[in-house]
Amino acid sequence: MANVLVNAPKTARRGQAVEIKALILHPMETGFRPGADGRILPRNIIELFTATWNGVEVFRIELSPAIAVNPFVSFFAVATESGTIGLRWSGDEGFLVEEQVAIAVE
């Protein structure tokens, strides 16, 4: 998915806490703003972002309209074993994007 930017190390030492940064293109329309025609634009936000490490959830953040356009999230996860970090964004209007990055743990 081209609309996602993920920054995570490709390798890590076992037990190290690695930083994962993720950015996704999304309008994060608050539902409080009038549009050009004076009517309130309907809310359209990403409500939930989750991260898994080899399928096990390690991080979750519930977002609100107060999160800026193109939501950016950074967090840490302990490198337990080699595999994939799965990232998932879901929200209004059936929005769902998933992305995976590989990480090698020594």
Binding site: M28, V58, I61, P65, A66, A68, S74
Partner: protein
């Protein structure tokens, strides 16, 4: 109408649009109460980083970190962030655990006005720790659609 009265009238008109529906310090206190219940919230252990002077409220970097060993027995379970003057008091809730290693979460937020931001960390031992920051916003976020 003389000039003085005219000026007083325009001042009143300018003030009115600010009266729109918003979260208030009371709404923020209520949102915090909903999370912590009757538990005591102590200041400390939490660091809330965001610029004190914000030129553009549309995208404000925010970083919350909490002092915690992040072990199975003692870790940060959640980080809650609240504001007092955006339309809603909640900003985000991050759920953490020992798998995170470090209790640090960063994002970018919108701020509709100069206000106080509060971060509260909930630990696995049932404690609540907090930090707050007062920020000045010169250009408010999201008043109308950008064209």
């Amino acid at each position: 109408m003389d000039r003085r009265r005219f000026l007083a009238g325009t001042a009143a008109i300018v003030v009115l649009p600010l009266d729109r529906a918003r979260a208030t310090p009371e709404a923020m206190a209520a949102a915090i109460k909903k999370v912590v219940g009757d538990a005591v919230v102590r200041e400390g252990r939490v660091t809330l980083d965001l610029p004190p002077l914000i030129e553009n409220g549309n995208t404000v970097p925010l970083l919350v970190s909490v002092e915690s060993p992040m072990t199975e027995a003692d870790h940060v379970r959640a980080i809650h962030v609240f504001n007092e003057k955006n339309p809603q008091p909640n900003v985000f809730v991050a759920r953490l655990g020992p798998r995170n290693g470090r209790a640090m979460v960063g994002t970018r937020i919108k701020l509709g006005d100069s206000q106080k931001i509060v971060a509260i960390a909930e630990t696995s031992t049932g404690q609540f720790w907090s930090a707050s920051a007062d920020v000045i916003v010169t250009l408010a976020a999201c008043l109308e659609e950008s064209t």
